[in-house]
């Protein structure tokens, strides 16, 4: 006779249903999670859902549709598709993120990391501190300094020998990209130099003994080993740069005209200067989608490494 035969119906009902070997959920758990939960719920989840709604309305900041706004379906998105400024803004955003963020910051950061690896520790330390100082400086201060540099009579025009040139008007996107590269390089430098330190020196030395030149070693040995680090770095740069507002807005307000109006700046202009909250939100949604697509591309690049690590 087994316990199953001995146990009657009523006894089964009162048997404890919870497993005794699993940890109990303590009541304080929810209490302590709740402040964070409330904050995240109220200021992340609900606004995100609300944003998905607002993007499909004609809500305005002021004016007839501020209070009485209505659901307009895909009208905002139709407007977006036909809006030449939206498309040029998207193009600019990609140039800004890829050019100034991914290409410039990664190359500069990597160069600094590689040079630093072989340099004397005083030079490495000093230059490292300078580059990091550029990163720690509040964004508005960076914007101001590079605004001044790009002026007619500013340092950049002095350096290229044409002091009368208002570079901020002639090549604004370039100046803004330079400013962002100056500011953000420290991040890549730190991550990539940490990644470099994790490359086992034995592999590099083995390649040296086989007679491989420096560049061959760099491209055939070091960089492939560092691929996950480099990809992660690019992902983080993209996420950080794509929603960057302060630098460009403070330097050019998106101008001259709309020449530097990357998507976050364009969103702000539409929402708070043209009072069109609905359209602004639609632009923000488009920005999220673009960011998500880029992130997925990176994560897809990283997956082979993750699978290998298992």
């Amino acid at each position: 006779m087994t316990i199953l035969d001995e146990t009657t119906e009523e006894q089964v009902d009162v048997l404890p249903k919870k497993r005794a070997d699993r940890e109990r959920i303590k009541p304080t758990t929810f209490l302590w999670l709740s402040p964070a939960g409330i904050l995240v719920m109220a200021l992340f989840i609900i606004p995100t859902v609300y944003a998905c709604y607002i993007g499909f309305t004609n809500m305005q900041l002021l004016g007839p549709h501020a209070q009485n706004f209505s659901f307009t379906g895909l009208a905002n998105f139709r407007q977006m598709i036909h809006d030449p400024v939206f498309w040029s803004s998207t193009k600019m955003t990609l140039i800004f993120v890829i050019g100034s963020g991914i290409i410039a910051q990664t190359i500069l950061g990597f160069a600094l990391a590689l040079l630093g690896q072989r340099a004397h520790f005083t030079v490495r330390g000093t230059v490292g501190s300078i580059v990091i100082l550029a990163w720690v400086l509040p964004e508005i201060a960076v914007a101001f300094v590079w605004y001044a540099f790009g002026q007619a009579g500013g340092a950049l025009s002095q350096i290229i020998g044409r002091p009368g040139d208002d570079l901020l008007s002639t090549v604004p996107l370039l100046i803004v990209c330079i400013a962002n590269a100056w500011r953000g390089t420290a991040f890549s430098m730190l991550i990539l130099s940490a990644g470099l330190r994790n490359v086992p020196a034995e592999v590099d030395e083995a390649a040296q003994l086989e007679g491989a030149s420096y560049w061959k070693r760099l491209f055939r040995v070091t960089i492939p080993i560092m691929r996950p680090t480099i990809m992660t770095n690019m992902l983080l740069i993209t996420i950080g740069t794509i929603s960057d507002f302060t630098l460009i807005f403070a330097m050019t307000q998106g101008g001259p005209g709309n020449e530097t109006a990357i998507l976050p700046v364009y969103m702000y202009i539409q929402a708070f200067q043209f009072n069109d909250l609905g359209y602004g939100t639609a632009i923000a949604l488009a920005l999220i989608v673009i960011g998500a697509i880029l992130s997925i591309i990176y994560v897809a690049q990283l997956r082979p490494e993750l699978r290998k690590a298992r």
């Binding site: 699993r22 606004p47 004397h120 940490a194 034995e202 976050p264």
Partner: protein, 297 residues
Amino acid sequence: MAIEELEIPVLDEEAPKSDGYATRRIRPGLFQGVSVNVVLALLGVVFLLPLIWLLDASLNPHASAALTTPAWSLKNFRAALAAGAGGAIKNSLYLAIVSTIVATVVSTLAAFVLSRRRVPFKASLLLLILFLTGLPVTLLLIPIFEIFVHLGWVDSPFYTSLVLAATSVPFTIWLLKNFIDQVPRELEEAAAIEGASELRILWRIVIPLAMPGILVASILTFINSWGSFLIPLVLDANPSSQPGAVGIYQFMSANGVVHFGPLAAYSILFSAPVVVLYLICSRWLNGGFAFAGGVKG
């Protein structure tokens, strides 16, 4: 067999250890060594130029956008203070402090729970938190603005700092959770056996042990909130509660003529606290920012 006769393997202390810096065993030639340092130093100078200009412009009463020779005067700093730098910096201090306290307290509680206790759907929650760290504020700004307008919470430094706290919370929770994961549980378990309550364990044991992580997280939140521009710009239109970033921006775009000298001074005044905080932080975390620090293996 006596102890002395046992053969105990000993680490070969004299063999050069690999420290990741490949300069030990196969040395580069002298020319390469020198040129690397020269190139690095040149890059350093290029990066330094804007900072030099900033310093120079702040001290030069006739500052302009150009790089000039220095002339010392504190006139620009006085002008910056006259333009409201003091008040704006005080506002920044309020926003940064309140948001840091809120974010740190909230995140520590949540991180402790996520690290130590069983939580339903924990894996999904952690994934959500990781995902939220990358969510740009640009999407949230308009709906939060609308909600705040309805609630009458606009133009309030307090609610603005709550939003700033919220933007830091996901990253802080993730950071702290990973940190607390590494704190050994034996002490907590011993305390629990002795009959300590949950709260006591948290307060007396976990928090002191996790203090380095908590301090790093709060400094990062502080630096983040200090430099915040877009959120206060949108949520707080009251000129008397504008933080430094907005103040500098208003000063830049006011009156048509840009006063480079006072603005440079304003920028330096505004940047100083954050730079100092970073210096303190990096002195401590020598390992974390080891590029700039020593080569302590």
